[in-house]
């Protein structure tokens, strides 16, 4: 029993609303990622759940028990901080065992838990080092081990990988995910990195300005974004959003969208297309190439149509010169429609499929 239930959670500092009626639930033994740009309130939500900030409104339940105003230590959660929060004057062993000593857990129990955790994260040979003598990845492991020895079922992680370099980040990502599965932890993971969200999460909660923008499995967020914000936040380069008011040649647009769409349905709002669905050819929307980025396996084309940027992802290495005139199109089923308010418009024929 360690699922987390967040209901109408709110946090205000004076007139500033940091978290605005946020609700979601984290199933027991699953990993939920709180995703959003900086300042969206994701870390605040984590701190509210940990009990490091006071809740302004709403409620938090962990494992079926309401903990909204409970003392942080009694909520049964462990936390990994962005800065790792290791005690600089204590060595790795003392850092890992700090909490167990506080809670007066017996010497033999401490030793066996330490051995187990140190083995799990591969720290056996470094137990006598001070944090200053460790690399970033090793410090991260100490923080993980500290969370493991607590044997708490709920683990909160606040951007744990943001201080690591790209290669190590990918490595630790896999490691955290496999640890979480192996130990059956209920994990809530805060990040602004959509790659982490896509690769690790069972469920993604996308936040914007203190509110939930969309909740769902990673592929749901990617394939059926509910708002233009969600559409642009997931994926790199982001989804192309063409504002219809600014496109004069509607017949060219209709041709680009597969040719069979009635022009009346493109009155206002946005048409969204993922860059990987953009095809470069002889027919469709006329565009001018403004830049090309060769990435090895693919080439990202930056094109302009009437002041609006269109990204295209093309396999392999193709040379296009800036200024070149091209036409782009995409399959009909790749089109996302958003209203002028930025909310997704479902195509009645496609909802069923």
């Amino acid at each position: 029993m360690s699922g987390i239930d967040i209901c109408e959670l709110g946090k205000q500092w004076g007139a500033v609303v940091a978290v605005d009626r946020v609700s979601f639930r984290v199933a027991e033994g699953s990993l939920t990622v709180l995703l959003g740009p900086s300042g969206c309130g994701k870390s605040t939500i984590l701190r509210l759940i940990a009990g490091l900030e006071n809740v302004s409104s709403g409620s938090i339940s962990i494992g079926g028990n309401e903990v909204t105003h409970l003392d942080a230590a009694r909520r049964g959660v462990s936390m990994v901080f962005q800065s790792y929060a290791l005690f600089p004057h204590l060595n790795v062993r003392e850092n890992i065992l700090f909490g167990l000593k506080v809670r007066k857990i017996s010497q033999s129990e401490r030793r066996s838990r330490l051995e187990e955790a140190a083995h799990m994260v591969g720290l056996e040979d470094l137990l006598n080092r001070k944090p200053a003598q460790l690399s970033g990845g090793q410090r991260q492991r100490v923080a993980l081990a500290r969370s493991i020895v607590s044997r708490r079922r709920v683990c909160l992680m606040d951007e744990p990988l943001s201080n690591l370099d790209a290669k190590l980040r990918a490595e630790m990502r896999d490691e955290i995910r496999s640890l979480q599965k192996k130990l059956g932890l209920t994990m809530l993971y805060v990040t602004h990195d959509q790659v982490e969200a896509m690769t690790m999460a069972d469920q993604v909660v996308l936040l914007r300005k203190g509110r939930v923008e969309q909740t769902g499995r990673p592929h749901e967020l990617y394939e059926r974004p509910q708002t233009t914000f969600a559409a642009q936040f997931m994926g790199s380069p982001p989804m192309n959003l063409l504002k219809l008011d600014l496109i004069e040649d509607r017949s060219a647009l209709a041709a680009a969208c597969g040719g069979s769409l009635p022009a009346a349905r493109f009155a206002d709002g946005y048409v969204g297309v993922r860059p990987e669905h953009v095809r470069v050819g002889q027919s469709g929307l006329p565009v001018r190439v403004s830049a090309t980025d060769y990435l090895g396996a693919e080439t990202v084309l930056r094109m302009v149509h009437g002041g609006q940027t269109v990204f295209g992802k093309i396999d392999g290495h193709r040379r296009y010169n800036p200024g070149e005139q091209l036409h782009v199109s995409w399959p009909e089923e790749a089109v996302h429609r958003f209203g002028a308010d930025g909310i997704r418009i479902e195509d009645p024929q496609r909802v069923s499929s």
Binding site: A50, G51, L52, A72, A73, R74, V77, S78, M79, F81, S83, A85, F87, P88, H89, F98, G99, V102, R103, A132, S150
Partner: protein, 277 residues
């Protein structure tokens, strides 16, 4: 190089000159100064005032240093949180350090004045009769100690406050999540992390306690019956009131040795237990 010149001119040369001076006798009109070896030091060992002054100094250091350090930490803990008027409180704590020592001593002279002083006036409301705080050999040293603590604690508080603000707040949050009480956090995390500051403050406090001279000058002149006399003031008196410059030089050498031994002790003994980041 300019630093070396300054050091040699104002530190090394005077030190050597003092050591040499301490080995000569006092010059009078009929007898010039001559080499007497350790005679000045022998005289010191037989001098009851010297021993009295040394004991006074030891009591003074023991009485002021731990208390002012503890007070400094307490005050720093207090103003390290967000309380209304925080900067005003911080400034108030620091004021004693800003004031010139002579002015401070005069303020306290008013506090301690028998019968009409502040302390006696307040005490008289509660029916206590006046007491000559600075005239009584049993209360004069404690009275000066109180004043010194008042002055030093605010100064040390600034160092502790700066050190505390360098401790990341996540450390407290992490230990809070583990169920540590605030006292446990202070004892096991914050105090050890403050050790470099404590060492620095301790060295300064010890040096200050042996360097104290201006308060005595205003308040007691070492009296009554040398009950509040401290080493540096005794040296000052010997040299410039009694003009026993060679004996004073010998006393100075002892003071120098004492200070260096204590500084070395602190650095070598405590340094092993201090965590530097």
């Amino acid at each position: 190089m300019p630093a070396a010149i300054l050091l040699i001119a104002f530190t090394h040369y005077p030190t050597v000159a003092t050591v040499i001076d301490s080995l000569f006798s006092k010059a009078t009109a009929i007898r010039p100064s001559r080499f007497v070896g350790v005679l000045n030091y022998q005289r010191m060992l037989d001098d009851p005032i010297f021993w009295k002054v040394l004991a006074n100094n030891a009591w003074f250091a023991l009485g002021t240093i731990p208390t002012s350090i503890a007070l400094a930490i307490l005050m720093a803990l207090f103003v390290n949180r967000s309380i209304p008027g925080r900067s005003l409180v911080r400034m108030a704590y620091f004021t004693p350090t800003v004031l010139p020592m002579i002015a401070v001593a005069n303020i306290w002279l008013f506090f301690y004045t028998p019968d009409i002083g502040l302390i006696d006036q307040i005490a008289s409301w509660f029916g206590f009769s006046g007491h000559n705080w600075l005239g009584d050999p049993t209360t004069v040293l404690p009275a000066i100690m109180v004043m010194t603590i008042w002055k030093e604690a605010g100064f040390f508080m600034i160092f502790y406050l700066a050190a505390m603000q360098n401790i990341p707040p996540e450390l407290e949050e992490a230990s809070q999540l583990e169920g540590a009480t605030r006292w446990y956090y202070f004892r096991r995390v914050m105090f050890p992390l403050l050790m470099p500051t404590t060492l620095f403050v301790l060295v300064n406090a010890v040096l200050n306690s042996f360097k104290l001279v201006d308060h005595l000058f205003v308040l007691t002149k070492g009296g009554p019956d040398n009950a509040s006399n401290l080493l540096l003031y005794y040296i000052f008196e010997t040299a410039f009131s009694y003009f026993e410059t060679h004996f004073a030089a010998a006393l100075t050498v002892v003071l120098l040795i004492l200070l260096s031994v204590m500084a070395l002790l602190q650095f070598f003994v405590l340094d092993k237990r201090v965590h530097y980041r």
